[in-house]
């Protein structure tokens, strides 16, 4: 038994799961031109997370204060408001918010944004298919990302099966933090798994992500045993996981897998800070910086010195 057992059993509501972004023309989430579907909800709490809006599994209202003109349209539209409040301005919230998004719907300046919209499988796949001409022309397809898409195995299975029926190439971008059964089942439906290794040391991993890395590494070994297609993704965060010991340990683990998997090094960018603020949350108290070009080259070379196939960025260079 691991802390996996403590994962919330988050099966999707009948209307679907909360999708917070459908990013078209993505070229760093697998091969070719892709549509990346970002699903809300994540069991990890990585302190460098650049998508804080992905953590909570339900919709949220984000406020971009600079775009607010204090016009009051949000107050008028709010079903929870009795409309007689004098207070106006970007921070208006009476604590009764049910995250319905009525305020965002009417906000002229797009200062208010509802993050996360319930999506059913059929509707989502129809949306994905819109870029089929570009998938076909580039060898691309769809990538399910998050959050952690493996939080929703039933929904994800439905999506992957529907995509398979339509001949769409599928990738799943995962932390690997899920039960062995879920990881296995999904890997049999997806064409490729984009699989994160964040740190090799269990304690450090737990301190900075909130969870143990053991199930993640175990699941990866299982996938390799089963000849699943996997692209390993390594988010390079100077000061956290760029030490030689960690790099060597990761190289030795990956090199020891029965299948030779490529590693894609993804340089960290501090884009999550402002997003935390818009959600009215305090960013984690950490001070990470982006790796320099030299840092990046050094890491790539060190990993390659172990005989591994290493790329920079999310696709083949």
């Amino acid at each position: 038994m691991t802390e996996l057992d403590r994962l919330p059993q988050t099966e999707p509501a009948p209307s679907g799961v909360a999708v917070f972004n459908i990013q078209r023309c993505s070229i760093h989430d697998g091969p070719g031109i892709r549509t990346t579907v970002f699903i809300k909800g994540c069991p990890l709490r990585c302190d460098w997370c650049h998508n804080p809006e992905s953590l909570d599994g339900s919709p949220e209202v984000a406020i971009n204060k600079r775009q607010c003109t204090s016009c009051g349209a949000c107050i008028e539209a709010c079903p929870e408001s009795n409309g007689d409040r004098p207070a106006r301005g970007p921070d208006w919230d009476d604590g009764n918010c049910r995250r319905c998004g009525a305020c965002a719907e009417v906000c002229p300046g797009e200062a208010r944004e509802l993050i996360g919209e319930a999506r059913a499988v059929a509707e989502l796949v129809a949306e994905i298919e819109r870029d089929r001409p570009f998938f076909d022309a580039s060898g691309g397809g769809v990538t399910f990302s998050g959050g952690e898409p493996l939080c929703y195995p039933t929904f994800l299975t439905g999506c992957l099966e529907a995509c398979r029926e339509r001949g769409l190439h599928t990738a799943v971008d995962t932390s690997g933090f899920a039960s062995k059964k879920v990881v296995r089942d999904i890997s049999r439906l997806a064409d490729v798994l984009l699989y994160d290794i964040k740190h090799m040391d269990s304690e450090v991993h737990k301190k900075h992500t909130g969870v143990d890395n053991q199930p993640i590494l175990d699941n990866l070994r299982t996938l390799s045993d089963e000849n699943a297609t996997v692209w390993i993704r390594f988010p390079l965060i100077p000061g956290f996981n760029d030490g030689d010991d960690n790099l060597d340990a990761m190289a030795s683990f990956v090199g020891g897998l029965p299948n030779g998997y490529p590693i894609f090094v993804l340089p960290y960018h501090p884009t999550g800070i402002d997003k935390h603020r818009r959600l009215g949350k305090r960013p984690p108290d950490v001070d990470y910086r982006s790796p320099s070009d030299d840092d990046l080259v050094a890491v790539v070379e060190r990993l390659r010195s172990h005989g591994l196939e290493v790329h920079t960025g999310g696709a083949y260079e």
Partner: protein, 786 residues
Amino acid sequence: MNDRVRQLRRESLDAVPSVSIERALLLTEFYRENEGRWPAPLMRAHAFHHLCTRKGLYLGEGELVVGERGPAPKATPTYPEITIHSAEDLEILSSRPLTNYHVDAADISRYADEVIPYWQGRTLRDRCLEALPEEWHEAYEAGVFTEFMEQRAPGHTVADGKIYRKGLVDFRAEIAAAIDALGDDPSPESRARREQLEAMDVAADAAIVYARRHADLAREKAVDEADPQRRAELERIAEVCERVPAHAPRDFHEALQAYWFYHLGVITELNGWDAFNPGHLDQHLGPFYDQGLADGSLTRERAKELLGCFFVKFNNHPAPPKVGVTAAESGTYTDFANINIGGLTREGEDAVNEVSYLLFEVIDEMHLLQPSNNLQLSAENPDDFLRAGLEVIRKGYGFPSVFNADAVVKELLRQGKTVEDAREGGTSGCVEAGAFGKEAYILTGYFNLPKLLELTLYNGVDPRTGKQLGLRTGEAADFETFDELHDAWRAQVDHFVEIKHRGNAIWERAYAESAQAPFLSIITDDCIASGRDYNAGGARYNTSYIQGVGIGSLTDSFSAIKHHVFDDGRWTLAELNEALAVDFEGHEALHKTLVNRTPKYGNDDDRADEIMVRCFETFFEAVDGRPNGRGGNYHIDMLPTTCHVYFGSVIGAMPDGRRAATPLSEGISPVQGADRKGPTAVFKSAAKMDHLRTGGTLLNQKFTPQILEGRPGIDLLVGLVRGYFGMDSHHVQFNVVRADTLRKAQLDPDSHRDLIVRVAGYSDYFCDISRELQDEIIERTEHEGF
């Protein structure tokens, strides 16, 4: 680039554009002496002969390909028979800060004394403007449409391969045979044909004489040349100019020189739009290249050097400047000769050859404003070819633009061309499809689609002037459904297309009767066979276009009205009109809602895209199939060049949130900043238009350099282009430059003089274009990250 080409390139870049009055003086002298001596076509031909026999020659140090239209590089003639520059025009040209043409003060006074008095009131432009009805003048002045032929002749055309297989001596034999075939038929038609054919014969002789004068000059220079290597080059130039264009070229060098003499002939005879154009240069040169390599007379490096010398020639020829221009209306030096690379052979096979790749290398190394160039991409062409072109595009000079060769063939087939003629065709000017060497395809003017929505909202009154300009289609407050409003707009479109069509007929007849192009007619099938001029329906295909502008702005405005007025009922049309009348002052929430909360074209949103299709169909139906005066039909193009800036300046605020007098959307691109779902959504939206029923559409995409880095960057472009073209679309061009860089260039133009950006169908020096256009280019959605 070797030293010779580097030197020639430098000289071309340093040459100052100027106005040469030589052509005007010679032409005026000729007409004064010979007025009434010959019928019109022969007058034109003898005038051309007069020019070719007497104009000053230029043979620059180090040149291998020779000949200039004026007495020196970038010396640009005027065409007083079409339109006459006033002394003031010339002074403005010489003093304005942008796209300046130097004019000597002495030349201005000589022009005023000798040229202007003869032509004033008798130019083609003067005569047509006099003949056009009041309704045409009112619409023209209000900015409903522009007129292409008021200052420049119909041109727009492109050479095919016959000039590499035949010489002018051979064409003269064909002309003689055609004259013989007329026999002694005394009918006026037969006499008109004979005159036209005799004019072609005189024009052919003129070009031969002109080339041989260069041969003589080269021989003279050779005698005095101390350097034995240069002496040998000059002797070779003499040999080449003796040979071509009288006879078919025998090798790579002769082929380039032959084309260049035809080019000079066409642009000396008249100031036709888009200069002239070698079209499928790689296909035409391919056999000479292969043969040269096989027999050892040519190397790859030598071929590249000759191409470099050839390219400099285009750059030495800025567009002839217009009259009546103000300092603000800067125009461009680009004259739109647009080389086609790749595409299909006559048999429908992959046409890419080694010269295609050589051309990309030359374009990349030379980095010149002219000639424009484009990549013709068929499903038959290999990805390696596309990648080679994209590597150049990625560097950000805006070259080459990319065309769907398969769609171009389909467009031309729909218009009734044979499949072989369609495949030998391609694109010229900005994006215009044509059957090269066989078609006179004439752009007649831009058409301001959004202006007509403004008129519709004001019951036909132009709010700028208060004049009843259009039809009375009803007060805004009285429209009860969206369909009623759209039908009212349709009625305005039909009305003004009709006015434009009637006006075009006047210009068309004027060119047919008094501005013949006998030299261009020689090399345009079937002018010899039919005994008719290029400008009078002599070509195998005779097409006229009206170019729609602003479909993005129009769509978004209609969408805003549909969404917020007729569907949601948040505002009435009258309330919306009030906000428009005051340019949204005091209506900030409404303005933001229009901008942010309206389904917009460019997002693959069917709610908006269906409106775009409906507007497109309306314009198509109003224009397509109308007969022109040359035995052909009208079709539509969807391109603006820079006219979206001018057309925007005559329209007040619009329902899409666009502020008064700001530029419209450009080509078929979305409104600047309205596309928020990345390039694939833009391409999907644009592809919902039926490109195959146009003669060309123009789509601009801007990327920052980072997006296009490395292998993934090129892979992305390959996927985007192939995906877009797979949906039967026509064209896309990429601007690869950071908005930052452009802003810096605005602040410090002197350090950014060499910054070339894609404008619309062509590239231009960023610092040479107007401030409005600069701002507009910066604003076009920059896809930073997605």
